[in-house]
């Protein structure tokens, strides 16, 4: 007799499988109906091309460089947001200076940033800067909210028992920061992949997945375009899951 838990997992797996099969079937039918494989290839064509690309050095070189840029952008954004949020919370002048910039960055179309940055820094660093620009406001706003949402009751306990410095950070602030930061890093990672690849496409960055997508589009290689896109989606999903896993691990370790 399968347990209730096993039944739940099986049910969920069945539902997910059904959804995947359904949408793949819809894609296949749409592709066959439209019959324009240089723009909209079938599932089979895309799969074949994807596996063919896995055997090429261009694919892996592009993927490695894109991965490096995305992660670097993410780390810079994470560091900038984490540094600026406490500063803005602590000093009114910092808040007055930083908050509007963060809001402007959040609202500005990513393409505008790419075009401006391209002129100033050249094509290679653009995806890194764009990734950082996408992640920083997200982390900044979440951390700022986390500091604001700190437990004031426990803050008073810290005052009475003179809990300061690292201990105050570890027991009072860190739990709240992680509570807000973990979901922000998961969505930030997804956002970083999307924005960085977009920057690579527009800036035509050397050794990048974005550049390969651009070339595929230019030469009407629909299957290749789709295959590279799938590679980006998979990488984004893997890293989002990784961030989620790391977050859960930290939460468990910190008894959250």
């Amino acid at each position: 007799m399968p347990s209730i838990m096993t039944k739940k997992i099986l049910k969920r797996a069945l539902l997910v499988s059904f959804a995947i099969v359904f949408w793949l079937a819809a894609w296949e039918i749409a592709a066959r109906t439209l019959d324009v494989d240089f723009i909209f290839p079938t599932v089979l064509q895309t799969t074949k091309t994807f596996f063919r690309l896995l055997g090429t050095s261009v694919f892996w070189k592009s993927l490695a460089h894109s991965l490096f840029r995305v992660l670097l952008g993410f780390i810079i954004g994470l560091a900038a947001g984490s540094l600026l949020a406490p500063l803005a919370f602590r000093f009114v002048l910092c808040r007055a200076l930083i908050s509007p910039i963060m809001s402007v960055i959040k609202a500005t179309p990513v393409a505008s940033f790419i075009m401006v940055l391209w002129c100033f820094v050249g094509s290679s660093p653009v995806p890194i800067v764009i990734g950082a620009l996408m992640v920083a406001p997200l982390i900044y706003h979440n951390l700022y909210d986390a500091i604001q949402a700190r437990d004031t009751d426990l803050s008073e306990v810290c005052a009475v028992y003179e809990v300061r410095g690292y201990r105050k950070f570890r027991y009072l602030y860190l739990p709240k920061l992680l509570e807000f930061l973990i979901p922000a890093t998961v969505s930030g990672m997804g956002l970083c992949w999307k924005a960085s690849i977009a920057a690579e496409i527009i800036a035509y960055t050397k050794n990048s997945i974005g550049r390969q997508i651009y070339i595929s589009k230019a030469f009407l290689e629909g299957a290749e375009l789709f295959a590279y896109t799938i590679a980006v989606i998979l990488m984004s999903l893997i890293f989002e899951r990784l961030m989620h896993f790391l977050g859960e691990l930290v939460k468990k370790k910190c008894h959250l």
């Binding site: 009751d153 426990l154 008073e156 306990v157 005052a159 009475v160 028992y161 809990v163 201990r167 027991y171 009072l172 860190l174 739990p175 910190c254 008894h255 959250l256």
Partner: protein
């Protein structure tokens, strides 16, 4: 004299809580603040602890330890660490043993000491909070409704501990009524 209150005035909006209230706590011992809800017992404790500075008048005080009404334990620390890691930067074995010994006196098993606040009952949380205050070794001990969640056995234990502690420090506690205090030697301060 560890605690002097001079001409204290405190109000919340239009509502006056203290109007020129003065009191000198001459000696160590147990002092009980008695009064109806909303009369300012907790407010007075908070002002003495330096957590509420929005008043006129003067409070001359020494270092305090405070048992809050809502226990206020850190959710990321287990029972024993809520004492040891909060009171001491790097707790020594002896300090940890003293915390464990006091918790044990108050009915905690070794397993209970490892429990996190979300697994502790209200009474257990209160006892952890009380141990933390007692071991803080301050000259003034403030307790906000300390008998609230305790059964009769634990109340008796607390009375014994307070009687012993009152020999070496000033204990100021708030209570709705004097019933829970039994025959504790105390000075009653009525807040009207």
């Amino acid at each position: 004299m560890p605690l002097i209150i001079k001409n204290l005035k405190k109000s919340f909006g239009e509502k006056v809580i203290f109007d020129d209230f003065s009191y000198t706590f001459d000696n160590n011992g147990i002092y009980i603040l008695v009064g109806d809800s909303g009369r300012g017992k907790t407010t007075l404790l908070r002002m003495i602890a330096g957590l509420d500075n929005d008043y006129t008048g003067e409070i001359i005080t020494d270092q305090v330890a405070y048992v809050f009404q809502e226990y206020r334990l850190f959710p990321v620390l287990n029972a024993i660490d809520n004492i040891a890691k909060i009171l001491w930067i790097q707790p020594t074995d002896e300090q940890i043993r003293s915390a464990a010994s006091l918790l044990s006196t108050l009915g905690f098993s070794k397993t209970d000491m490892q429990l996190y606040p979300n697994a502790l009952s209200g009474g257990m949380k209160q006892r952890v909070s009380l141990c933390r205050a007692l071991l803080a070794d301050k000259k003034i001990l403030l307790l906000d409704e300390p008998f609230k969640e305790l059964d009769s056995t634990l109340r008796e234990q607390l009375r014994t501990i307070l009687a012993e502690e009152a020999k070496k420090r000033l204990i100021l506690l708030s209570a709705h009524s004097l019933d829970a205090l039994g025959d504790l030697d105390r000075t009653v301060i009525e807040i009207k």
